[in-house]
């Protein structure tokens, strides 16, 4: 189907956009196989203990139920063996809790059985018929209470540069504690797996994952299979935000059921299960201290953090990292401990630890600016550094000051009152705030297959996924630019582990890593074309490849544009149907490693606080990114807009509420856990510096998925302070924290 009045795809639109607006794009749960059965998890109703008895008889007698799989009848899974001697050589032990394996309960909502039936209705009806009796053990889910007991903290990681706690000797200093609750990714698509054993040792999965290769590898190592016999297909991912960076219990459970029943099995999580089974942003406590001399130079930064993990496995993310290098400061000390609780495992959530850390750091800098009576932007500029003070390497590129200038101009920073609570518009308290975000710009290894056919079409393949940023579009653009040919003739294939290996989509690394491989593949093909021209096209005889260029689907002599040959003609002349190559682009070069690479963002916010009830309305946002060359301006802008929405959620609405008497989440739905809605979103302007980073990779591009969100909650908190004079350090910022009482109507 084509766009109205357009026979050709408009270059600006997503190459897969038409499928998404027509409902044709298929997500994991939307595949159907003959004789497919439906599986639904039965989950625990205690937080910790043992299952004494599990009565499945009523469920088994229920219409259409094929099996109820649990610890007593679960087939042996090679990777479930704890003892290395019991595991074949190519098998590694499953990380995390082993679903359907034993009678232990480690968190409230843990799967304890899997009902499989011939229809979704029959499976769902039988779930409530499974009865468990438990031996309950003492548990702890209360982070705020447990973190006060130092004996419960685990694995502190300490960092020290210069003199510890130096900030306290400075002319001005601030020190305060910050709390962020558990937040849940809550992508719109529910996690789903369809498992289908095509043979004794051959399985195909339709699965929601950010990494087809990573899920493939986990299945291979868990079930003792080979790469070529495990295929993971994930054509479209309905959002994930980090939650799809790991293979969760739904994958082995679906594999086990499909194997046991000898038929394809579809397992889809429910929305409440999305709160407990696929990770979350861990709860955190932070204490940040910053001191500055009278003119604002940072003398010392201290950043301490505690974040939760599950009792059964550790998890730590980069909460204190930005404090080590974002600003010039000789004396920095950080400490990060983890706190095991009887809950499921957290995982990176958009902007991961940096979003948590930058909320505290950027709030503290704002607070310090008031103490110094300085503009907070000027204070940041004062402490700007072009050299990473941690590893002492120069930033490959840093244009954050351009971001400041643009943001200040567009938000109307000159109207920001220096005295908090002093500006009113239409009876509302008005505040301005800003903050900075930073994230590493890595470049990993990726392989790309490139096929140029003699009909002029170019196909590129890589086993990466696209959870929404528009990877298929940006890779097509990179190829179009490298090949100097129209996007319409290029197809980028992804989302299938059978394609050449690519990274998981995460950590803002896809464009840099896969984009570099696409660029390299195109350049390799161009060289090949030049060589063919010299060898087979008489007009080019005796020329060198350096003297030729490939553009507009032709090989052309640089010195004389009249000497040219069209690519399809050249391939026919060379008697080749196609050029078909697979290349691998590995990490950074020695030259690139002389620099440290990061993406940066600065967020500017204007908001209104209603003085009558403390409700907050974000009025305007200007969000700016310094991430090298922007490959696909339209989709990049959308990512930044999405970061603002996520940031508003983190700052103002999102919080998991626990009942610590039972250890369960009590708001596990969109009715209880509030994500931002249409009417909460202000007019947002996006700006990119859009200048190629000369040292990060050959394409000069860095990631933006994380920096879109990192720091944003700080800008809101700082604007709330500017509006009201109340410093809120506990997210989300709700009217009660501004001193307003909740009055029942």
């Amino acid at each position: 189907m084509k766009s109205n009045n357009n026979t050709l795809l408009i270059e600006d639109e997503r190459v897969d956009g038409s499928d998404k607006v027509t409902g044709k794009a298929k997500y994991a749960a939307e595949h159907s196989l003959p004789n497919m059965a439906y599986a639904v998890f039965v989950t625990s109703t205690i937080a910790k203990g043992n299952i004494k008895t599990l009565d499945t008889s009523k469920a088994l007698a229920s219409p259409g139920v094929l099996d109820v799989i649990y610890y007593a009848n679960c087939p042996a899974v090679p990777g479930y063996a704890s003892n290395a001697a019991d595991r074949p050589k190519n098998v590694s032990e499953w990380r995390g809790y082993k679903v359907l394996y034993d009678n232990k309960v480690r968190f409230f909502g843990q799967p304890i059985a899997l009902v499989v039936a011939d229809s979704f209705e029959n499976a769902n009806a039988a779930v409530r018929l499974v009865k468990a009796e438990y031996e309950i053990e003492k548990f702890e889910t209360n982070f705020d209470k447990a973190r006060l007991d130092p004996t419960l903290l685990k694995s502190p990681v300490n960092y020290k540069r210069g003199t510890e706690k130096k900030f306290k000797e400075a002319a001005s200093f601030v020190e305060a504690e910050y709390n962020i609750p558990i937040e849940v990714h809550n992508a719109m698509e529910l996690f789903a797996t369809i498992a289908f054993w095509e043979g004794e040792d051959r399985v195909t999965l339709y699965d929601k994952t950010q990494g087809p290769k990573s899920t493939q590898s986990t299945v291979v190592r868990t079930f003792g299979l080979t790469d070529k016999n495990v295929r993971v297909i994930t054509e479209n991912v309905g959002g994930a935000f980090g939650s799809g960076l790991r293979t969760w219990a739904n994958v082995p459970a679906a594999c086990i059921a499909a194997k046991k029943l000898n038929r394809p099995v579809k397992l889809v999580l429910t929305r409440p299960q999305m709160f407990t089974l696929v990770g979350y942003r861990p709860q955190s406590w932070q204490k940040v201290g910053i001191g500055a001399d009278a003119s604002g130079n940072f003398m010392g930064i201290s950043h301490e953090a505690i974040s939760n993990c599950a009792r059964y496995e550790d998890f730590r993310e980069g909460i204190v990292e930005a404090s080590k290098f974002l600003y010039a400061c000789e004396n920095v000390d950080t400490k990060h401990s983890i706190l095991p609780l009887d809950m499921s495992s957290p995982i990176w959530m958009r902007g991961p630890g940096e979003a948590t850390g930058c909320f505290a750091l950027e709030s503290a800098i704002d607070e310090l600016a008031y103490k110094l009576n300085m503009d907070p932007v000027q204070l940041r500029i004062k402490n700007f550094t072009a050299i990473n003070p941690d590893n002492k390497l120069p930033f490959s590129d840093i244009n954050i000051k351009d971001c400041y200038a643009y943001g200040m101009e567009k938000i109307g920073w000159k109207n920001r009152p220096m005295v908090p609570g002093s500006l009113k518009e239409n009876g509302m308290l008005i505040g301005y705030g800003m903050s900075v975000g930073v994230f590493g710009a890595g470049k990993g290894t990726a392989s790309v297959r490139i096929v140029l056919s003699n009909d002029g079409k170019l196909i590129l393949e890589c086993a990466v996924s696209d959870m929404g940023p528009g990877t298929m579009t940006s890779m097509t653009k990179i190829a179009a630019e490298a090949m100097q040919m129209p996007m319409q003739k290029i197809k980028f294939k992804l989302g299938d582990s059978d394609l050449p290996p690519g990274p998981s989509q995460g950590g803002s690394g896809t464009t840099s890593t896969v984009g570099s491989a696409v660029d390299m593949a195109c350049k390799t093909v161009q060289l090949k074309l030049k060589e063919l021209a010299i060898q087979f096209a008489p007009a080019f005889t005796g020329m060198t490849a350096d003297a030729l260029e490939v553009k507009n689907e032709m090989v052309v002599a640089k010195a004389n544009a009249a000497i040219k040959i069209e690519v399809p003609s050249l391939l026919k002349l060379a008697n080749q149907d196609k050029i078909d190559l697979t290349i691998t682009s590995s990490g950074k070069t020695a030259e690139q490693l002389k620099y440290t690479s990061n993406s940066f963002s600065a967020h500017f916010v204007k908001l209104a606080v209603n003085p009558k009830d403390g409700t907050i309305k974000v009025l305007n946002v200007v969000t700016t990114g310094d991430a090298g060359k922007i490959v696909s301006p339209k989709t990049a802008r959308s990512q930044m807009l999405g970061g603002v929405v996520g940031g508003i959620g983190m700052a103002l609405t999102e919080k998991v509420e626990m009942d610590h008497t039972t250890g369960q989440i009590i708001n596990a739905s969109f009715g209880g856990y509030h994500v931002p809605l249409h009417s909460q979103i202000p007019n947002t302007e996006v700006y990119f510096v859009n200048k190629p980073d000369p040292h990060v990779n050959d394409i000069g591009s860095k990631g933006i998925g994380e920096i879109a969100l990192i720091g944003f909650a700080g800008a809101i908190a700082n604007a709330v302070y500017n509006a009201t004079g109340k410093r809120v350090r506990d997210l989300p910022i709700t009217p009660d924290k501004l001193g307003y009482k909740i009055v029942k109507a």
Binding site: S18, V21, P78, Y101, D102, G238
Partner: protein
């Protein structure tokens, strides 16, 4: 209690699917025979439903407990309508029932006797995009695309019902549809554009 089946050899797990290996390479008739051979408990009684979906009149026999969403997605392969919460909270499953937008996850299919359903697949004639689909594409009003069908179905009635006069009224009407990627601003841009164009939708 000891975990079940402490693992000794991977053959134990793998050998179970030997018989199925041939099954999926087999012609459809053989698959059918195999299914009948299995001992499957009797399903509960089916109910009759007459319903029109995207202009197609259908006479169906369905499980009385089936939601309209599951009927569309699981039984009829209209997977353009999405499942996001099954509680009527997210809007991903929004469809039109007799022209009114409705969340199909909290509708029993059987309560739609003789109703006319329009899903995202039925919005255009299949040759050209519906103006709202085209506007979503042009304004990049989505990222992952999962909430998009529901957003578009709500967006169409937003304009039809005269709720697209201001950005504020569009936002209020569209608050029923969550977009976790955060494409809200572009969605409102798309709706505003269609409303202002005066296109018949």
């Amino acid at each position: 209690m000891n975990p079940c089946n402490s693992y000794k050899s991977r053959r134990g797990f793998l050998k179970k699917s030997a018989s199925i290996a041939a099954l999926y390479l087999a012609p459809a008739t053989l698959v059918k025979t195999f299914a009948i051979d299995r001992v499957v408990p009797l399903p509960i009684a089916k109910e009759k439903l007459t319903i029109t979906i995207n202009g197609k009149l259908m006479n169906l026999e369905i499980d009385a407990r089936t939601t309209l969403l599951n009927l569309l997605r699981e039984d009829l392969a209209y997977t353009g309508t999405k499942k996001g919460c099954e509680m009527g909270q997210c809007g991903a499953c929004t469809i039109h029932i007799n022209g009114k937008r409705t969340k199909s996850c909290i509708q029993l299919a059987l309560s739609n006797q003789n109703n006319k359903i329009t899903t995202i697949e039925g919005l255009s004639d299949g040759t050209e995009l519906h103006p709202m689909q085209a506007a979503f594409l042009k304004n990049d009003a989505f990222q992952c695309g999962y909430c998009t069908s529901g957003q578009i179905m709500s967006a169409v009635t937003c304009v039809r019902e005269g709720n697209a006069k201001t950005r504020k009224s569009i936002q209020a009407y569209m608050d029923t549809n969550i977009c976790r990627c955060g494409a809200y601003q572009n969605i409102v841009d798309a709706i505003e554009e269609v409303a202002k164009s005066g296109a018949k939708i």
